[in-house]
């Protein structure tokens, strides 16, 4: 940077093959309803947290499936676990349990404390 006055930009691309999907595998084994998400966003619209922060459960679902774990780890702390998302989901995804299991997986696999 000092020498040239500019530096490399990190690619925004989701590199599916380089990513680790152990967290989502852990969740899907215990909560297969996550597969049923059709990304309608109803959970995010109903979400207490999502109305005041950038938290979106819909986005969390995709990020988990793509293995973008760094983003998920940081974002799911915001969930208040109120459960309104489960009430509105048209596909019957147990959304609240997905958050629980994600936290569990991060703790078990990575020793991460929430």
């Amino acid at each position: 940077m000092e020498k040239f006055g500019f530096s490399l930009t990190k690619a925004r691309v989701i590199d599916y093959d380089a990513n680790d999907r152990s967290i989502v595998s852990y969740i899907l084994e215990r909560e297969p309803s996550l597969n049923l998400c059709i990304e309608c966003g109803c959970c995010s619209a109903a979400c207490t947290t999502g109305n005041f922060t950038g938290f979106s459960l819909r986005e969390i679902h995709i990020l988990l499936k793509r293995g973008e774990n760094d983003l998920v780890r940081q974002k799911i702390r915001k969930c208040m676990l109120c459960g309104k998302c489960i009430l509105v989901c048209p596909r019957g995804v147990n959304t609240r349990n997905v958050v629980f299991l994600a936290k569990q997986a991060f703790t078990k696999n990575e020793g991460y404390e929430f």
């Binding site: 599916y16 059709i38 990304e39």
Partner: protein, 342 residues
């Protein structure tokens, strides 16, 4: 003498209509350009939504046309027709002419030629195949990579040649979404350990039991759905395909390796029918399919009195709809012939 109806096209619509017309007391000539009847159905393996074997439907259609009032002309290409008053004269490639009282066009569709979407490398990259190629593999019970190996990750790319101004088709071919889901399930049944993804712009699952099939694909087969149209396919040093797509619901580009990519080829008005329409002044819509006289009450008629349409020459239709459309064409033809041909 019985009125004589000439049916052009021996696929699902033509066979169903010919059989019904014959049983309604008409004398029928069924002209097919290929040497066999059955059209695209012959190339298909299972049909959605219940995965019925397409051979079963073929058997049904063959039963429909086994009637003494039906004369079959296979291997004959219709080159044009003229009409004088209420009489039609159809000419074929080998110089024959056939006279009739009404004409039913059941000329069907052509599959979009996927090599026209050059960025996907169909015909260039091994293991980029079309939905029709995959059905042929299903029929032969030989789904495999060119190397002979089992695919571990398979992608289905929706809307190839549909909803795409670049190839001149702004319409939706309507059947490809459900076909992709059906084929994804078939592939997962053959390779349970594989991972299957559908790349879609919108999931258009509007038919009876389609949404249920979609849910089954997610629930039983863990098929992944990524909203985004693949922009480019390449091959990496391990000879695996690399697809570039935007994961539009994350808002970021995504790069994924695949062993096999299936292009869901859309439906286009058949080239032969376009030629016939131009030569005989039959109107085509903006989508190039035959333009119906009325979108609600006249989808079996066009702009020439006595010429009727049945099936996918009017719009992309599935087998169920094609059969219904053929039956309604029969009703219209019988009505036309019985009520003074107006």
């Amino acid at each position: 003498m019985n009125p004589h109806v000439i049916v052009i096209g021996g696929g699902t619509a033509g066979m169903e209509a010919a059989g019904r017309l014959a049983r309604a007391g008409m004398s029928v000539t069924l002209i097919e350009k290929g040497k066999d009847l059955g059209g695209h159905l012959r190339d298909w393996y299972h049909l959605f939504p219940d995965r019925r074997s397409s051979d079963e439907v073929l058997e049904y259609l063959k039963g429909q046309i086994s009637h003494q009032n039906i004369r079959l002309l296979t291997g004959q290409q219709v080159t044009g027709f003229i009409h004088k008053g209420n009489e039609f004269t159809v000419s074929t490639g080998n110089g024959d002419t056939i006279n009739g009282d009404a004409l039913l066009l059941a000329t069907g569709f052509d599959l979009f030629k996927s090599e026209r979407k050059e960025e996907y490398g169909y015909g260039i990259y091994e293991n980029v195949i079309t939905s029709a190629d995959l059905e042929a593999m299903f029929r032969k019970k030989e789904v495999k990579l060119v190397s002979g190996k089992k695919p571990e990750r398979i992608g289905f790319l929706h809307c190839v040649g549909s909803r795409d101004e670049k190839v001149g088709n702004i319409y939706c071919s309507k059947l490809c979404c459900v076909t992709a889901v059906k084929q994804a399930i078939e592939v997962k049944k053959i390779f349970p350990a594989s991972k299957v993804f559908c790349f879609y712009m919108d999931m258009r699952m509007g038919g009876a039991l389609y949404e249920e099939l979609y849910k089954e694909a997610q629930e039983k087969y863990s098929v992944g759905f990524i909203r985004g149209k693949v922009s480019e396919v390449a091959v990496n040093i391990n000879n695996r395909l690399v697809a570039k797509v935007e994961d539009t619901l994350v808002g970021r580009p995504l790069k994924m390796e695949l062993d096999m990519l299936v292009l869901m080829a859309g439906m286009e008005m058949s080239e032969d029918a376009v030629r016939l329409a131009k030569e005989t002044n039959l109107q085509m819509g903006e989508n190039r399919f035959f333009k119906p006289a009325d979108h609600h009450f006249g989808t079996n008629m066009g702009n020439v009195n006595g010429v009727f349409y049945a099936g996918a020459c009017t719009a992309p239709l599935n087998i169920t709809e094609t059969i219904s459309h053929a039956r309604s064409a029969v009703t219209e033809i019988v009505n036309y012939l019985n009520t003074g041909r107006k």
